[in-house]
């Protein structure tokens, strides 16, 4: 009996030992990790980060357009699921912009996510032994350009409240800079990117939205177009013209020449969320009623706000025109295009006192949109108003109106639709940044 007992114990011990030596480790089964990429990334891995950034730039793009267009009184956004489009964004009664509101936190976080991707790209490219120095510069030049653009979009939201520029170490974030420092940092980043791109070699594929801009020379033109926009935001009028000269600006060129976000029905891709069919109910975007009342007779840009079969109303707001800028679920959303560059040219020229040059540019826009050449007063104030009118209709629902009126301290000229509504000048810094 004792013998049997000992055998039992012995076998149990053996089992335990064999069991203990049987160990496993499962790696992440679902996706690659940043930690892997930072060690020694291959060209394909770096290219994946490039594509990922381009794709990620579209995340919450519609939310951004909705927010700035509603505050800028370009559109109404009615939603049966979320009332805040018609309350907080319009400042109805005592509501204010909330620093936890989705209209702020979602786009803000999506932009910084792309910035994170560009920072990972910079670090991964720098650490990689599998790409040449010129190729590394191509990656960093791309990364810095995109990073600057994404920072600019967030700064457009928070304006005087600033943005955080130094964010490469998540555990040790830099300070939130004020507006002037922020916009300067963005301009500097674009210049650094241009320097990196000079003499670089681009070995990655961009989307069809970069057609004509996907080689080094083309990408520099895109970079300079953004630099021109940043320059007018900074009131650096001469610098804006310099940047325009190095960009794809063409006063007689196609208005839609430029760089855009692309959408497709491909796997893992997105459809254009800024597209809603006409005459919908529930989730809708309507042109602000004064889009149609303020437009000059004959202006073909009325086609961006089509008549509905029935007006839609919500909490005292009503409009009978749908927003019709993005007319299919795969329509591109412009990042920057020639029509804006022509208007930047006009603006810089007005500010530098070169009124005839400015009027040429403005008339280029006017005639193309079926309205007569400019016949108004030729002074800075009048021309600035004319330039702002053209920007309003040319860049409708592309995210400019609110920022433009703010640049010229004209937010008080935006319409108040209901007693107690407010026009906000800036969004707060998200609560989670504090």
């Amino acid at each position: 009996m004792k013998r049997i007992k000992n055998h039992g114990a012995l076998i149990l011990v053996m089992l335990t030992i064999s069991f203990v030596s049987c160990k496993k480790e499962y790696a992440n089964l679902n996706s690659p990790t940043v930690e892997d990429y930072l060690k020694d990334a291959s060209k394909d891995q770096l290219n994946g980060l490039v594509t990922g950034a381009l794709s990620g730039m579209r995340n919450n793009e519609a939310a951004y357009l909705d927010a700035v267009s509603v505050i800028g009184r370009e559109i109404y956004r009615f939603s049966s699921a979320d009332p805040r489009f018609v309350t907080e964004l319009l400042g109805s009664e005592s509501t204010t912009l909330n620093n936890t509101g989705f209209y702020l936190t979602n786009p803000w976080a999506s932009r910084y996510r792309v910035i994170k991707n560009t920072n990972v790209l910079i670090e991964a490219a720098t650490n990689s032994t599998q790409v040449s120095e010129a190729e590394k510069k191509g990656y960093t030049g791309f990364a810095k350009t995109i990073k600057a653009y994404e920072l600019l979009l967030n700064l457009n939201l928070t304006y005087n409240n600033g943005v955080r520029v130094e964010v490469s170490d998540p555990n040790n974030l830099g300070p939130i800079l004020d507006y002037d420092q922020s916009i300067l940092a963005i301009a500097t980043l674009l210049d650094e990117a241009k320097a990196d791109l000079t003499g670089s070699s681009v070995v990655f594929t961009l989307t069809p939205g970069f057609t004509g801009f996907s080689d080094v020379a083309g990408f520099v033109k895109f970079n300079r177009a953004l630099a021109a926009r940043v320059a007018v935001y900074r009131k650096e009028w001469a610098a804006a013209l310099v940047a325009l000269n190095e960009s794809f600006f063409a006063i007689n060129g196609d208005f839609n020449l430029g760089v855009s976000h692309q959408f497709s029905t491909g796997s893992g891709d997105q459809l254009n969320p800024a597209f809603f069919p006409q005459d919908q109910n529930g989730e809708i975007r309507l042109a602000h009623p004064n889009y149609a009342t303020d437009i000059l007779p004959g202006d073909d840009r009325i086609s961006k706000a089509t008549l509905r079969t029935a007006a839609a109303s919500n909490t005292g707001l009503s409009s009978n025109r749908d927003v019709w800028v993005y007319t299919s679920s795969t329509s591109p959303i412009p990042i920057i295009r020639n029509e804006e560059l022509i208007l930047i040219y006009a603006e810089a020229k007005i500010k530098l006192g070169a009124f005839p040059d400015a009027i040429i540019a403005l008339n280029r826009i006017r005639t193309a949109h079926n309205i007569a050449v400019y016949a108004g007063a030729v002074n800075e104030a009048a021309l600035i108003n004319e330039m702002l009118y053209q920007r309003r209709y040319s860049l409708f629902f592309e995210g400019h109106r609110w920022i433009d009126m703010r640049r010229y301290n004209k937010l008080n000229e935006l319409p108040i639709d209901r007693p107690g509504d407010d026009v906000w000048s800036a969004m707060p810094i998200p609560s989670t940044e504090n």
Partner: protein, 986 residues
Amino acid sequence: MRKTMLWIASLIFLALLPASLLAQEKMISGKVTDSKGLPLPAISVVVKQTKKATTTDTDGKFEISVPSNGTLVITSTGFATQNIQVPASGEISVTLQEDFARLDEVVVTGLATSVKRRNLANSVATISNKQLQGTAPAQTFDAALNGKIPGAYINANSGAPGGGLSVKLRGVTSVFGNTQPLYVVDGVFMDNSATSAGLNAVTGAAAGGNISTQDNPSSRIADLRAEDIENIEILKGASAAAIYGSRAAAGVIIISTKRGKQGQTKVSFSQDLGFVKVRKLLGVRQFTEETAGSLSGDPARIAQLKQQFVQAQSAGKLYDYEKEVYGNTGFTRNSVLSMNGGNDRTGFYFSAAQKDEEGIVKKTGYRNTSLRLNLDHKLTDNIKIGISTNYVNSSADRGLTGNDNNGVTYSISLSSTPNFAELHPNEFGVYPNNPFGASNVLQTIALMTNNESVNRFTTGLNLEAQVQKSARSTTRLIGRGGIDFYNLVTTANFPRELQFQTVNKGTSIQGLTKSLNTNYILSAVNQFIVSDNLEFTTSAGVTQETGDFNNLLAVATQMAPGQTNIDQGGALTAQQFRNKFQNQGIFIQEEVSINDAINLTGGVRFDRSTNNGDVEKFNAYPKAGVSVNLTRMGLLDNGFFNNLKLRAAYGQSANFPAFGSKFTTLVASNITGVQGSIVNIQGGDPNIDPERQSELEAGVDFSVLDGKLNFEISFYNKKIYDFLLLATVPPSSGFSTKFVNAGDLRNQGLEVGINAIPVLTDNVKWTSSVNFWFNRSKVTRLTIPPVILGSFGTSLGSFQIEEGKSATQIVGLNAPISAKDELVALGNQEPKFQMNTFNEVTLFNKLSLRFLIHWKYKGDNVNLTTLLNDFGSTSADFDADADGNNVPDGPQRIGSFLGGSARGFVENSGYVRVREIGLYYTINKIPRNIVRGVRVGVSLNNFFTWTKYSGYDPEVSNFGTGFSTGVDVDPFPASKRASFNVTIDF
């Protein structure tokens, strides 16, 4: 590896054949009766300290050979155990007394050991089959648990067919880790995942993200058949559950299914027929010409709306769409055939069952078909083998409800549809577009599908061999394990004809999930009897659990007309989620029984897991317990107490870090057909630690009045250290969240159970149990700033994890009482206390009335349903003026929200509910030989509720079974059930 080990184990068991024992023996016979003198069949008669056993026949008689000075131990469930010294000669007559206090009930204390309730150091709740499903059967197993577990907070997520409940034992165990208990059925660890059907692709409930917890899936434990279950034991915290390792951090629910009983084969057929109806409707706004016009601010539109209303009114076409959508009376049926029998070596239990239930919304419902075969066989006198097999096929059509950002769910669509809208199809069957919303709810119901379909196979094996036997020592080897495998197919089809499919032109979401869980326990148990007064039980063993989960989800849009196959789509996106783990444990446990009055238990489990940061490190989880039975010790001999026990237990456990929290992953982010990667919004941390938990439980159990009144009182203090929080990080870091070990939590609570037999006469018997329990949680340490989570932000009321506060507090804005952006505590999800009472009154042994009442006192929900209906201008009391201030209630509530107050959304969700009530009549004197008994009954399930809660039902959870239950966003309304039952025993 696993297979090899099982082989070796079986070989050992076969090799170690028993040694026979020789002693002076004689045959003895006897009869066992109850207190009324009625013979008791199938009573176990065992010769003490041997394995020799028999059972009584139908006349209560038995015969067994016994050593001359032996003792017989006579046991049966529900009766107090009796020890009989064998007399020199003659027949023995034994009268068994009912064990009202259930002191002799055997309760699991380890992975391979058990102890009688009288000696237990923990409070272990048990639920019998009768309590589980014998009163008023619920639709699914998880729903059948509701209101029955003292110490638990159980909450149904919605009323959608197919279940989906959250079970939280003793408060908040974790915020982001597993909050649900481990379910073990006959030794097999069951998967209880809730797998999303990908409805977010249509609802956009979690806009911007693909993964959503708002798709209202069911929990897979719902597949289980309550009819097959013999009893359930609930180990609520680490002090009892530590030996099960990390998966048991939120407690263990141990389920034993029915086994074969020796004797004549019993065939039983049971048929339920019944109906379900909605528990409560909110009502709809009655429009007038004036109020119809007020839906718009545009003069032309106002005129149009007024005209539309007048036309609808004069044509008699004002509808109550809420009633039309949720007012269906669903027919239910459930048939169960079971067989039970065996001889002295082999026993079997077989059941075949099918239920088919319609829902309160057309085209919704639940169907479950189950087959079970449990076999027990004695290979030799010393080797026993038990096999359990269960196949389940279930199918749930769950409709489309709940939160939504696209205006497509039934409920959100209803919220903006006034009664004068025309949604009915024309003579060609074409549904008009709903001019007041993004979808026509009648069309959606008629054309869409949202189905979860499961094929599940669970099998368990239990081998027990006695390998050593001497006068004082017995050693058994026990091998137990099994597999739980299921295939889940989720099908969500939204044809292109639907109003909201004008952009996507048809969406087909097909999900395929494969889940395989395996586990085994190999252990050796030695029972060493030093003397009659001192006994040691030593157990040691190894365990292993593995899991392999693979979920594929394909979303196709631009569908060919009438087609649902994803390759008929014009655009296709796919997602895959895989999860694999292997846990290994080594345990030892020592139980000492002194005088059958003092019981000491100590044990430790060493656990490691591939889920941990360090996969090779073993973590030790100790437990210990002591119980002192004062009456058995003779310290309390005043005759008042029949039984008085003091007890205390302590244990530790841990919850795994969430899967993948170690890494920062890159997720797919493609554009125009080019593959891309983007950093995940969740940052990883290579140094993440598991959550550790310690629980101290102390209590006193006593019974008085001949065991007719029993009390069980427990206090516990459960602490969770380094709990994981998905902390919000500054989004400028590129991440939105990151797992951190954020602090410590504490749960303290009291559980009081009373079992009583208020009336016991020959013709009337009334048994009653009353339970009272509450839990108080507190965040005792938090290393990061307070975290808002679990709802929709502070303007609508949200949970907040904050040091010094309850873990389940609800905070929000409260203007103008407080400053505009100041957060104030508005409520707490945790109930102040809960009570239940289960009663059975039996008259003449024939008529039995059973009922279960459950009272949840206070505890708050975040109720956003009214707000959504107000914004849609359709709430029933929109035009009412309850406070007489001349501002209609709808606009007043909107105004309060716009003014920056979330106060109105935090609402007391307490209730008193008659969960189950059933009346049964047993006919057991039937002249024909073939039928032994017939039982007929009627029952009502969740029929009566008293609550001040304004939503459909106080039990609700938009976010499923996680931390934040109780958020109410236009859910699938809860239903009540009535059924008629006939059971025939052959």
